[in-house]
């Protein structure tokens, strides 16, 4: 064998060997201790990195959960109770189950029901519209319809209905991470308790104007008449600033308010079509079809 090759092999192996030894000691000296449970917890999390928990990504949440003694301030909205239970098992801590939530759009001011008074042609984001003026319609509280919530949703759970000009939440895909709630400049999206069979009853309006002004701007606005408050047997409805709000924790889905609302501002979703008796008796009639797409 050629000696040049031999020397090369030997000297390179020697350099390699010495470096390995040095590196080994350096690595020992500067070792950063990391709790191995952080990796375990990160693996258990859904890896959506949506930020819905309030921490920068899943690893951020994992670190915070490992460091904390109490798990109650943390919740992964995407993984839900199942994931939180797994995490609690890994860390040997207690966790209480939270009620599942779902995002609802509290505006029914569709293109047909809310007349456009002017035309906006600026940058196509709701945040800029709301920083410029009160919007294309007479209602300054409602949906601007440019879809900031759609852009921000990491789970494709919201889409824009072209016919109504309003966003629609797909309940099955919604993880209640809350990104849309933060993105909406008019704060029309709310995370509400998920009832059985995805049934929902809520005031689909956020207009705080007086009744007359609200009604003029939008056919289906809450006018703050207070009829629903009176009819509710569970004290679940409160009225503030000419706007009714149904507390999901008190609501028993009795649907009395829906019948009473003069402007159809209260929506019932995913209920079977109800049959009521006509005043003349006999005939049955479908009153309000359930709104679910």
């Amino acid at each position: 064998m050629n000696t040049t090759i031999l020397f090369t092999i030997i000297s390179l192996s020697a350099v390699g060997g010495i470096s390995a030894v040095i590196l080994y000691f350096v690595a020992q000296k500067f070792k950063v201790f990391e709790d191995p449970r952080i990796d375990l917890v990160t693996e258990a999390l859904p890896a959506a990195n949506c930020g819905g928990c309030g921490y920068p990504g899943c690893r951020g949440l994992a670190e915070a959960m490992v460091k904390s003694d109490d798990l109650s301030p943390f919740f992964c909205p995407v993984g839900g109770n199942a994931v939180m239970a797994t995490v609690a098992k890994i860390l040997g801590k207690e966790v209480t189950a939270k009620e599942p939530l779902v995002a609802v759009i509290r505006c029914s001011g569709s293109l047909a029901k809310r007349p456009r008074l002017n035309e906006y042609d600026g940058a196509a984001t709701c945040t800029i519209v709301s920083s410029l003026y009160s919007g294309e319609t007479g209602c300054q509280y409602g949906c601007h319809g440019l879809g900031d919530c759609v852009t921000v949703c990491k789970f494709d759970a919201i889409y824009m209905d072209k016919e109504t000009g309003l966003p629609v939440v797909i309940d099955e895909k919604c993880t209640a991470c809350g990104a849309c709630v933060k993105a909406c400049p008019n704060k029309i999206i709310e995370l509400r308790k998920k009832f059985a069979k995805d049934r929902k009853i809520f005031v689909s309006c956020v207009n705080k104007d007086k009744g007359g002004i609200a009604k003029k701007a939008c056919e289906v606005a809450c006018i703050g008449c207070g009829k629903c408050v009176k009819v509710c047997p569970h004290d679940a409805i409160t009225l503030e600033n000419f706007l009714a709000y149904i507390d999901p924790n008190k609501c028993k889905l009795c649907r009395k308010c829906v019948e009473e609302c003069p402007t159809n501002a209260i929506l019932e979703i995913n209920f079977p079509p109800r049959k009521i008796k006509d005043e003349t008796g006999g005939n049955t009639e479908q009153v309000k079809s359930s709104e679910k797409e």
Partner: protein
């Protein structure tokens, strides 16, 4: 070689249709809606109630802090109600709505037209008077004038700059004022000079107003210390910082104010209002408004009472043209489209511009090709293409480092962008986010 500022700038078509039309008093409206927030700073506090009788010049809303301004009734009549009305900001704001009955002025106002040249008040009294009269910067930014005149300890002012540039295309209200009320305006400048204790005032006027330059150059011989400087036409020369650079070649530092370089800038309209307030006891309740546009049959300059609905101005200028696309409050570069013709004229309304459907349409958006036209157009030396991207990605720290707070919102970047990107829209958004962060940091 005429003077101008160095960095950036653009040359939009001038379109000064109404420059030869004298200022006409607009007939009194039936009702006025006077917003309580017409200035930068804290909104004023309403001091009248429904049913109260008011005279022209009566105080109806009171300043609520140092950076705030009094508001005076622009008409005589009865307060109808205090309600939320859509105003030129695009939102419903509290307004005082007054039904007009006759035209009875408060007795202390001197309604004679003779020129009163001698200034009897002391510096402090002048500033107090300006404060009491509710005078704000009439160039459009509506910053309360007394604040600009109260120089903090340790700062030294050696020059007063009077802004007669009117660099916005279409607008001619300042131009007309310089021709028709030149003497009053110059006395106003002398009052401002006295209030600031400076001996030198420079009036900057762009070269597209040769009649105003000639007229004022002749008159200033009677007013020692005041000089008239013609400037090369370039937008946005009416920006404070640009005007200081053009006239006295000083650069206002980033985040600084003109007084950091020993200068204070006031608009010609403000100087005129100061004259009326100090010499004639007349608070600020009317201003010159240009109503113009390619389609307008009678482009005009009106003396308008604050609170008059815009629809009345348009009616007086020949009615709303059929092909109207947008009605803009202010000029085409910095103005803002209004969403209703019923919005009231405020202290900051320098013009009403009516644009045709074609002219007001935005360019179709395409992608940024990094041509850097916006960078060469920016008078503040910023990089708009970078700022829009960082705003979209919510990189607020980077935005602050890249000087977004120095943006004067002149719109040169959007004007020049060949890709039709809404640069200024996003920069404004980023700026408001960053300023919110800075404010919360200070607390």
């Amino acid at each position: 070689m005429l003077k101008t500022f160095v960095k950036g700038g653009v040359h939009p078509a001038e379109c000064k249709f109404s420059e030869d039309n004298a200022i006409v008093n607009l007939p009194l409206p039936k009702t006025v809606s006077i917003p309580i927030a017409q200035h930068i700073g804290a909104p004023s506090k309403v001091i009248v109630a429904k049913g109260d009788k008011v005279k022209v010049g009566d105080k109806i809303a009171e300043s609520t802090g140092f950076v705030s301004a009094n508001i005076h009734s622009s008409v005589s009549g009865t307060v109808n109600k205090i309600d939320d009305v859509l105003d030129s900001t695009g939102y419903k704001r509290t307004c005082i709505i007054i039904d007009v009955e006759g035209d009875e002025w408060n007795e202390i106002i001197d309604r004679t037209t003779d020129l009163k040249k001698e200034i009897s008040l002391t510096e402090k009294e002048i500033i107090a008077k300006i404060n009491a009269s509710g005078i704000v910067g009439l160039g459009g930014a509506t910053f309360p004038s007394h604040v600009k005149l109260s120089i903090p300890d340790g700062k030294k002012i050696n020059v007063l700059i009077i802004n007669g540039v009117e660099c916005e295309p279409y607008l001619t209200s300042d131009h007309r004022l310089m021709i028709e009320k030149a003497n009053e305006m110059l006395v106003g400048v002398q009052i401002l000079m006295k209030a600031l204790s400076v001996s030198r005032a420079l009036i900057g006027i762009e070269n597209n107003k040769p009649d105003a330059i000639a007229h004022l150059s002749l008159l200033v011989k009677n007013y020692p210390g005041i000089e008239v400087h013609p400037l090369k036409v370039k937008y946005p020369q009416g920006g404070e910082k640009q005007l200081i650079k053009a006239l006295i070649n000083r650069e206002v530092p980033s985040g600084g104010l003109p007084l950091d370089v020993g200068a204070v800038v006031h608009n010609v309209g403000t100087a005129f209002a100061v004259y009326e307030a100090v010499q004639k006891n007349k608070p600020l309740f009317e201003r010159v408004v240009t109503v113009t546009g390619q389609l307008v049959s009678k482009p005009s300059n009106f003396m308008v009472r604050i609170g008059t609905p815009v629809s009345q101005l348009i009616e007086a200028a020949g009615g709303l043209p059929e092909d109207t696309g947008k009605i803009i409050n202010g000029g085409p570069m910095m103005g803002k489209a209004v969403s209703s013709t019923e919005v009231p004229v405020t202290k900051g309304t320098s013009g009403i511009l009516i644009m045709s459907k074609d002219a007001s349409k935005r360019k179709k958006e395409s992608t940024c090709v990094r041509c850097a036209k916006c960078v060469s157009a920016c008078p503040q030396g910023l990089e708009p293409f970078l700022l829009i991207k960082q705003t979209q990605l919510e990189k607020n720290d980077e935005l602050e480092q890249n000087g977004i707070m120095d943006c004067i919102e002149c719109g040169s970047c959007s004007f020049t962008c060949p890709a039709g990107l809404p640069l200024l829209d996003y920069i404004r958004l980023g700026k408001s986010r960053v300023s919110r962060i800075i404010r919360s940091r200070k607390q």
